[in-house]
């Protein structure tokens, strides 16, 4: 009989955290993950998974195996992390995360390979807030006092006057596009910009905001360019 809590699942804004018992044999661990996931498959499908190996040392092949296992459950491995016992004791959570790309040596994992898109068919007014893991498209305005927090890109088919956070889970390639881009505050991944205090010229063309050289830049939207991030 496998110990009940050798795998625990927790939701977070970044995705689903799988905490894995570091003391267990990897193959048994895989069986255990499979069983846990089959219980809640339909509920979790499409989600991104962060695997926390605790103090276990993981081999690149093991990460590949894990990724395939998750794929069979329509889940996507976003990153893996492990932590030294001292750090874990000090913070109570896993830190010291190593990039899955480095760990799986050449095994490129796209963090947002399968994003969903939420279509909002109205104007977002002051006090209204949208929080979504994927892309958000608004068919209307986003008024001052409204906010959108999206894991992916944000597209506003109207005037954007409120606060938008694109790539909220840390994706620096996320972009914000609006027919009239005049936000109070614009956040992409961990970058925050705000509207200048002085009155500025109002845009009269669609514009796009993205991170270039670590700074959020706003430029005129040109459809012929490959604007969205490449997959």
């Amino acid at each position: 009989m496998i110990k009940q809590d050798s795998v625990s699942i927790k939701g977070s804004r970044e995705g689903i955290f799988l905490h894995l018992d570091p003391g267990l044999d990897f193959q048994i661990l895989k069986q255990e993950i499979a069983q846990k996931l089959s219980d809640s498959q339909s509920f979790l499908a499409g989600a991104q998974v962060i695997c926390d190996f605790g103090t276990r040392e993981v081999a690149p092949e093991e990460i590949g195996e894990l990724e395939n296992l998750l794929k069979s459950f329509k889940l996507e491995l976003k990153r893996v992390s492990n932590s030294s016992p001292t750090l874990k004791a000090a913070t109570g959570i896993r830190e010291n995360s190593m990039s899955s790309e480095a760990a799986s040596s050449g095994h490129k994992i796209h963090p947002y390979a399968d994003e969903h898109t939420l279509l909002i068919n109205k104007t977002l007014r002051s006090g209204q807030s949208v929080n979504y893991d994927g892309n958000v498209v608004v068919m209307g305005d986003v008024n001052a006092g409204a906010e959108i927090i999206a894991g992916g890109n944000v597209l506003v088919m109207g005037a954007l006057r409120g606060v938008v956070h694109a790539g909220a889970a840390g994706d620096p390639d996320a972009v914000v596009t609006a027919l009239r881009l005049k936000p109070m505050q614009l956040r992409i991944a961990d970058q925050i910009t705000r509207a200048p205090d002085e009155a500025m010229e109002e845009p009269d063309v669609p514009e796009i905001a993205r991170i270039r050289d670590g700074v959020v830049t706003i430029e005129r939207y040109v459809p012929s360019e490959r604007q969205a991030r490449t997959r």
Partner: protein
């Protein structure tokens, strides 16, 4: 069956009560049977603006708590036989009434009146919820200034969430001279942000201050510009198609002469 209209704004001081008084009086002047309900419990004003303060015996909380019959709490207006006021309580607070009680109360008034006009308190708490609970139509009052417009936007969102669709906008206290100089938001600026139908634009008018202090709604004053604006709003509420009035300041003699001679 009467139509239930709530007058709301979010922000305080934009002219909800003045608007309620003028619209209701204007409707009554057109021979509709009208009742105003003041839901600003604890901070009632509508009775003062209507000049009916000294006639209050029972109020909305008395009705809800069963201390009196609904008919006993209704105050008949001084000017119109067919205009009534259900005053708010001054010594209680907004939580003395809940939304179900409000719906029942309005339901009892509906068969008796053509229009039930509800004066909503400022804010978005219980008082607001009570005021909109029984409403079928909403009129959002705002001023041409950014804070009032922001609050109006919030209110429109909340009205949508409460399934009170297609609210209409009254832009109150517009100062045409300031708009002309670019010192005040104009109608298009406000319309751009709020994107709802404009029911009317009321210019800033000293007559309102005077009439409010006297307890005589300006809608009855033929010479007042604000009064004219309210009369037009009332007509639009009843379904008549009235164009927005020209709010340009009345021309002086010199400019009139210039116009006559074709000099701009």
């Amino acid at each position: 069956m009467g139509e239930v209209i709530v007058i709301t704004s979010g922000k305080g001081g934009v002219g909800k009560t003045t608007t309620t008084a003028n619209i209701s009086t204007g409707l009554a002047a057109l021979n509709y049977k009208v009742v105003m309900i003041d839901t600003d419990i604890g901070l009632r004003n509508l009775d003062v603006v209507m000049g009916l303060e000294n006639r209050i015996v029972y109020d909305i909380v008395d009705v809800v708590q069963g201390n009196c019959r609904l008919k006993q709490a209704l105050i008949k207006d001084k000017r119109f036989e067919n205009l009534f006021l259900l005053p708010a309580a001054q010594t209680k607070d907004k939580n003395s009434v809940n939304t179900d009680q409000m719906k029942e109360l309005v339901g009892n008034l509906k068969p008796e009146f053509d229009y039930i006009v509800i004066d909503c308190p400022a804010g978005i708490e219980q008082g607001f919820k009570n005021a909109i609970a029984a409403a079928e139509r909403a009129i959002v009052v705002t001023n041409p200034e950014i804070s009032a417009v922001r609050d109006a936007d919030r209110i429109i969102g909340l009205l949508e969430a409460a399934e009170l669709h297609d609210p209409m906008l009254i832009i109150n206290r517009l100062r045409p001279a300031m708009v002309k100089k670019g010192d005040m938001m104009n109608i298009v600026d406000v319309e751009d942000i709020l994107a709802i139908k404009i029911l009317g634009v009321v210019p800033e008018d000293e007559a309102i201050v005077i009439s409010t202090n006297r307890g005589e709604p300006a809608v009855l004053e033929q010479t007042s510009k604000a009064g004219q604006a309210y009369r037009n709003i009332v007509k639009r509420i009843t379904g008549e198609d009235v164009a927005l009035m020209n709010l340009e300041e009345a021309d002086g003699l010199v400019s009139k002469l210039k116009k006559l001679m074709g000099i701009k």
